[in-house]
């Protein structure tokens, strides 16, 4: 043996490390481990590849390569293709794009919507970014934004008033989403605290409210808002339909937020409450400084999921005749020029919602990671 070593010129143990076998590292190793590790795995890979091959190229051809981007109507669209309906007719969406964003908002006043959208973006950035100078003022601005936005869009106080029945499209969807999200969080926290309260009457009232709202579909509540709510008000008083819908949507998602926050409150160990008590903190101080920061941190995923649900549910207003993006789109489908272009329309709206909701979901994931302090088991 010793002879052997000397012939190769290495002292025992001095041989330099060989690179790992090609078959276990790099792209080849990855493919072997993740796609071809066993006969079953090979079959699954082949099946998936076949599935993707039969779906993705035709879908891409339809949506991108054979699609028509400018045309006057659907006949014109189809005339430009090799055969009718071979590709998507995005000219339909392009032609209605401004309608989809602004609804019937009066043309000369649309700058107000643009300003409101820009302010909304600023408010979102102000809330989400941590390292902004003057973070406190950004937060105050975000709290004030719903009111500034409402003033810009509805008018009054120096601006030309615009009736709420003129609101539509993405503008309406965003209004419902932002209002619901802003007001349902504080209301939901209050309901959760009420449900956890030691006062039986308060607790019972909160439980009944939460369970009732969670037990019925949102669509029935919207029906109530559109048909019945006027009966509940003093005779002769009228109440804007959009306002009624906003109230219902807010109450609906507040009930769900309340349950999520209650989960967070229950997730805290009782030692936290006892510690706050032994420091002599009052109920409100204990909750503001000790309990809620921790409980809300645990509930972030659930709260964001509820917000996503609320944003998605905003399309239900279509059923009581309000023209959000889906309602406007469906109205455009009845236009004789664009009949039968439902796939294009639904794909466009689906992508819009996907972008909004998926980014919210990703943000909540990153927030969870950021707030993770390692105390949780």
């Amino acid at each position: 043996m010793a002879q052997n070593h000397t012939t190769h010129g290495y002292a025992p143990g001095a041989h330099p490390d060989l690179p790992p076998p090609v078959r276990t590292t790099g792209p080849i190793g990855w493919i072997r481990a993740n796609l071809l590790s066993s006969p079953l795995n090979i079959t699954l890979t082949l099946l998936s590849a076949w599935l993707l091959w039969s779906i993705v190229p035709p879908a891409l051809n339809w949506a991108l390569f054979d699609a028509i981007w400018s045309a006057t109507d659907r006949k014109d669209c189809w005339a430009q293709m090799d055969e009718p309906r071979a590709g998507a007719c995005w000219a339909f969406i392009r032609g209605s794009f401004r309608l989809f964003i602004y609804g019937w908002y009066p043309e000369p006043e649309r700058w107000r919507v643009n300003v409101a959208f820009i302010l909304l973006l600023l408010a979102i950035v102000g809330v989400l970014r941590d390292n902004l100078p003057g973070k406190k003022y950004w937060l105050w601005f975000a709290v004030a934004f719903p009111f500034i936005g409402a003033w810009l869009i509805v008018g009054g106080f120096g601006l030309t008033p615009v009736g709420t029945q003129k609101l539509g499209g993405i503008l309406l969807t965003v209004i419902i989403g932002v209002t619901g999200i802003t007001f349902s969080l504080p209301l939901g926290i209050a309901l959760a605290l009420g449900r956890r309260s030691e006062l039986p009457a308060l607790r019972a009232a909160c439980v009944i409210f939460i369970e009732f709202i969670r037990g019925v579909p949102l669509i029935t509540l919207l029906f109530v808002a559109s048909t019945m709510l006027t009966y509940f008000l003093p005779p002769g008083s009228t109440f804007d339909l959009l306002m009624r819908v906003l109230i219902m949507v807010t109450l609906f998602s507040a009930a769900y937020i309340a349950e999520v926050v209650r989960g967070g409150l229950q997730g805290l160990s009782s030692g936290q409450y006892e510690a706050a008590d032994s420091l002599g903190l009052t109920y409100w101080k204990a909750h503001r400084l000790i309990i809620l920061p921790q409980a809300l941190k645990i509930s972030i995923p659930g709260i964001v999921n509820t917000f996503i649900g609320l944003y998605k549910d905003s399309v239900l207003v279509l059923i009581i005749g309000m023209m959000d993006i889906l309602g406007l789109g469906r109205a455009r489908l009845n236009d004789p020029d664009w009949l039968g272009l439902a796939p294009e329309l639904y794909l466009f709206i689906a992508l819009f919602f996907f972008l909004c909701c998926f980014s919210m979901a990703r943000y909540s994931l990153s927030l969870e990671k950021k707030l993770e302090t390692g105390h949780a088991q």
Partner: protein, 397 residues
Amino acid sequence: MVQASPNTPNIFLRLWRNEGSRGVIIQIVTMVVLFALIAAIARNVVVNLAEVGKEFSFAFLSWPAAYDIGFSPFIEYTNQSTHLRAAVVGLLNTLLVAVCGCILASVLGFTLGIMRLSSNWLVSRISYVFVEFMRNVPVLIHILAFYALVVTLLPPAKKAIDVGAGAFFLSNRGFYTPSPVFEPGAGMVGIVIILAIVIAVGFKRWAKQVQDRTGKAYPVFWISTAIIIALPGIAFLTAGMPLSWDIPALKGFNFKGGMAIKPEFLALCLALSYYTACFISEIVRAGILAISRGQSEAAHALGLQNNRTLQLVIIPQALRVIVPPLCSQYLNLTKNSSLAIAIGYMDITATIGGISLMQTGKEMETMMIVMGVYLVISLAISSFMNWFNHRIKLTER
């Protein structure tokens, strides 16, 4: 002594500073405000109803509904039937779509969840992309888009696609399948099926007792399956096969015979189930990941085989994590089925809460019925959930 010193606050402030009495004050104030609100609303309702000349009564339920319901698979319904009957048809349709949707959603959701955990990268990515795209799009858009696809892309009945064996057809009027026709003697086979299930359950219990006593294990699954298949099979053959199939056939412009699954039902049921399946798949994934690796290693160390490990160790523990959120997904699916109104499937919201409301102008009464029905369904599902939770709760010493 009689005169209050400046440091002693007045009686109200003292009551407010005492924790017990403060609680009572807060509760009294809450109740007073709540009841005042309810009373004000009730008064407004009475005044407003009187003003428009309506009265609050459920008598309209016995009036003829005078509208058609295209889909009533369980009970007879004509446009001469009452509003009450229309409500029952709607309720049954809601339950039908909810039950079908829950079953489909569970199957699809478990499949997607397990695909997501697959060691095969391609399979897990396909599941991820599908789930993330589908669940971030409102379910109403799924329903409308699916319905539009069925109605616009499928051919008319005359050019229906033959999906299988000249008996299953797909057209824009719906999905046609053969329907079973029971002949005399079929009842007996039905009784034998029930009997076979009872025998199988009894055998399972007996086998468990034997195993507890002696440790001897029978292949319970295979024997019960054999009982459940063989006994009715023998009964079916001896009764002279009392079952035939009514096969749909094209007559004129539409299919006659067989069973037609309407496009509305198809679109609603499939859209609801794949949407809900995306949420279920995440629940299943979380449930399986929640079981630590040590559990299966411990089971293997005890000498349990793979399938016994799954059956006795992994699944019971994973179910404990999976079932509560799964139930709330079922509840969501049931509530989302109210979106049927958007495509004209006649569920409870569309019948009594839609057309009956418009025809009779009884907003209060019809909405109370609809909400009551959904509340009862919700309470039923959540009480089942509580019962199940209690049953499978980890018993710790």
